[in-house]
């Protein structure tokens, strides 16, 4: 979306990298907000610039979304583990008989 097409690779020139960062960061934050509102989604977005500055957005709070993220990931692990156990016992039974 601009005067020219660009390829997605690190921008070498540090000035234009900074300008692009500023423009696209605000675009990304805006779109995150819009998605959260339009679709009733819970969204957390954390951005560190290459100079270490922090920018963030969260539809509720970053902390609560991170907590939910961790809980969800744990559940996934449990599901995966439960499946693994089943697969393992299946394999073992068929080896042993």
């Amino acid at each position: 979306m601009g005067r020219g097409k660009i390829v997605i690779r690190r921008i070498d020139n540090s000035t234009s990298r900074q300008v692009t960062f500023c423009k696209r960061r605000s675009g990304l934050l805006k779109k995150a907000k819009e998605l959260a509102i339009l679709c009733d989604a819970e969204i957390a977005l954390v951005i560190f610039s290459s100079t270490g500055r922090l920018y963030d957005f969260a539809s509720s709070s970053v902390k609560s979304i991170i907590d939910r993220y961790n809980r969800t990931k744990e559940e996934h692990h449990q599901v995966l583990n439960a499946t693994s156990v089943k697969v393992c016992s299946f394999l073992m039974q068929h080896r042993l008989h």
Copy 2:
């Protein structure tokens, strides 16, 4: 960006909310990736759909970015606290004299 202009408010119709969620989610994830690459930024994006499904992107890993986020926030608190202490002592001195 579409056949018509829309206002940013929760989409009532659940079917079109789902369709919009799907389209905009993929757009948001794409733009997060682009920003990370173009500008050498560290980005974490966590999205929970209204039905509780999790989608995420992280330029490195969500966990490491969350850790960095927490560390950065702690530093901010320390800075704020240090400032508060100074302001308080200034105010107290000027009250006491």
